[in-house]
């Protein structure tokens, strides 16, 4: 088996006396979907921030594509191929869907200072952006302002923005949050279509989606890893059942 795309090694992070991340180690292998679950307050958001580069761990190392990226910032990690879909949809609201995708293409290294001409009138850029929108089913929404898109559409747009960057890993932070049933279903289909091509680290509350998509699941409780394993093994794990799934079912 080839080396993992992403590997966390013994990550520690504290805010004052509160240890929010305690010795977390996990990895994402090429082609797999690795889900990260855990009850509220388990420290998922903090961990995602550390993986993305927005927060720096107190100790431990993060390797991405065989490079130690522990000291790199968000932009540098993104340039290495870490694509991110935010928990709260994060697109440029005042831009059209097409412009958003164009931003992603240019940011990924398509001559960010570009020639002296309107960016979107450059067919090379415009056509690529339009194609990316078509791939996520937003072809007819290209001219709509992102703030006017529905929740699910914005997620799809965000995904399109990640995909044009040819990501080596997708960091999906609760993609299903706030989407309706039909939209969620469409999004899951979309992710399933990507499965095997792009490795993903999926942080998600919706257990249905997690068990449909994930190859492996890591359960985070109180900032540390309770268990990592295949979906069936995790489902059967008594610790998880008690601490997490039980609670989830109760809700």
């Amino acid at each position: 088996m080839s080396a993992p795309v992403l590997a966390l090694d013994n990550i520690e992070k504290s805010f004052g006396a509160l240890r929010v991340t305690q010795g977390v180690s996990l990895d994402v292998r090429p082609g797999e979907v690795h889900a990260l679950i855990g009850p509220n307050g388990a420290g998922k958001t903090t961990l995602v921030a550390q993986i993305a580069g927005a927060l720096r761990p107190d100790s431990g190392r993060i390797r991405f594509r065989d490079r130690d990226v522990t000291g790199l910032g968000v932009a540098a990690r993104a340039r290495l191929g870490l694509g991110r879909v935010f928990q709260l949809s994060n697109v440029v609201g005042t831009f059209t869907a097409l412009e958003n995708v164009a931003v992603a293409i240019v940011a990924a290294g398509d001559r960010p200072f570009g020639p002296w001409q309107p960016a979107l009138r450059d067919p090379a850029l415009g056509d690529e952006a339009a194609a990316a929108l078509a791939r996520v089913g937003l072809a007819d929404r290209a001219e709509t302002r992102a703030s006017d898109l529905s929740h699910g559409e914005r997620r799809a747009l965000e995904l399109a923005m990640s995909l044009v960057q040819d990501p080596k890993l997708l960091l999906l932070d609760e993609p299903m949050a706030g989407t309706g049933r039909a939209e969620g279903e469409r999004l899951t289909e979309l992710l399933l279509s990507l499965k095997g091509r792009v490795p993903m680290l999926l942080v998600e509350h919706d257990m249905g989606t997690v068990f449909r998509l994930a190859d492996r699941i890591t359960v985070l409780i109180y900032g540390s890893v309770a268990v990592t394993g295949a979906p069936d093994a995790v489902r059967a794990d008594p610790v998880v059942r008690k601490a997490y799934l039980g609670e989830e079912e109760a809700v």
């Binding site: 540098a76 931003v103 240019v106 020639p115 309107p118 960016a119 001219e143």
Partner: protein, 323 residues
């Protein structure tokens, strides 16, 4: 602004004719022509002054509205441009074709040097650190006793253009100012729509996302500061020529504040808004100032009214009225 590909394109001619740069230039040119026909020298003075203030406001609007960099120190590059005219003049350099690029370069250099530090901060902190740098250069200028110190100094003569004294009359100066304003509007508009502009605007609207997409807009912003500061320097070169006097008062924070007022009054979304703001403020000064010593009361009332009305949800008001 950036119109996207699949929209049906308007005929290039129509688009060009409706371009704010063209409209602006034509508007100023018409004003100038009317003033000229009416034999009003002061009309030309007013057009020159309004156009150069509009240029300064447009350069600030580019920073605020497009790059998201609210500079409270824009009087500094403006004043630097003015001082370039004075200092170059003292060394015998009075050719506009030399002074103008020099003014641009000096102001851009200042903006980049201070911007490199200022860009470490965000929001209100950025506003205040730009003010701090502007205050410092203000005190530096006030201590240049060879150039009039706090009082400032008259420039030896207005700049020449192509070695000719084309700018001696305010009409000539006004034409140059209007032409430069048009060029700036046109050039900045192109820039905003370019890939660079796209990144700049994305960084203003959502920096976190841009970072996550792999682009740190620091360099883009630094370049924006150079361009915005440089254009303010050009406006300063024109200002020194219009007034024929250069003093540190140009760099006072009041001037920075007035430029912000022009930009915000006209709306930050479009560069042309800054032109409207500059025209509005100059005209208010011109008309109210003639009626009453307390004209600033009127200006204040207009400003507060504009801000409050713009904030009111007009649709809701109309609905409420209909119900």
């Amino acid at each position: 602004m950036a119109q996207s590909v699949p929209t049906p394109r308007r005929a290039a001619g129509v688009r060009l004719a409706l371009h704010p740069a063209v409209v602006g230039v034509l508007g100023f040119a018409a004003a100038l022509a009317i003033a000229h026909a009416g034999g009003s020298v002061y009309g030309a003075t007013l057009v020159a002054r309004t156009a150069l203030l509009a240029l300064a406001a447009v350069s600030l609007s580019f920073l605020i509205g497009q790059a998201g960099l609210v500079s409270f120190g824009h009087a500094a590059p403006l004043g630097i441009g003015a001082y370039v005219v004075l200092i170059a003049g003292e060394y015998g350099v009075t050719e506009m074709l030399v002074v103008l690029p020099l003014g641009f370069a000096a102001a851009a250099l200042f903006s980049v040097a201070t911007g490199a530090v200022a860009l470490r901060t965000r929001g209100v902190y950025f506003i205040m650190i730009t003010l701090a740098f502007a205050q410092m250069i203000y005190y530096v200028a006030a201590s240049l006793s060879a150039f009039g110190g706090d009082d400032g100094m008259a420039i030896a003569a207005r700049s020449t253009l192509f070695g000719l004294r084309l700018l001696k009359s305010d009409t000539g100066l006004a034409m140059l100012a209007v032409a430069l304003l048009g060029l700036a509007l046109f050039g900045l508009d192109r820039l905003i729509a370019s890939r660079y502009g796209l990144m700049l605007r994305a960084g203003r609207a959502n920096e976190a996302k841009l970072q996550a997409l792999g682009l740190d807009p620091y360099r883009h912003r630094l370049i924006a500061l150079a361009i915005g500061g440089g254009l303010a320097g050009v406006a300063g070169v024109l200002l020194a020529n219009q007034v024929e006097y250069v003093s540190p008062a140009t760099m006072n924070w009041h001037v920075s504040g007035e430029l912000i007022v022009m930009v915000v009054l006209g709306g930050t979304g479009r560069l042309a808004g800054a032109v409207l703001g500059a025209v509005a403020v100059t005209l208010l000064d011109e008309t109210l100032g003639h009626f009453t010593e307390h004209w600033k009361l009127g200006l204040g009332l207009v400003i507060v009214a504009v801000v409050l009305l713009r904030g009111a949800d007009l649709k809701a008001l109309l609905r409420g009225g209909a119900a």
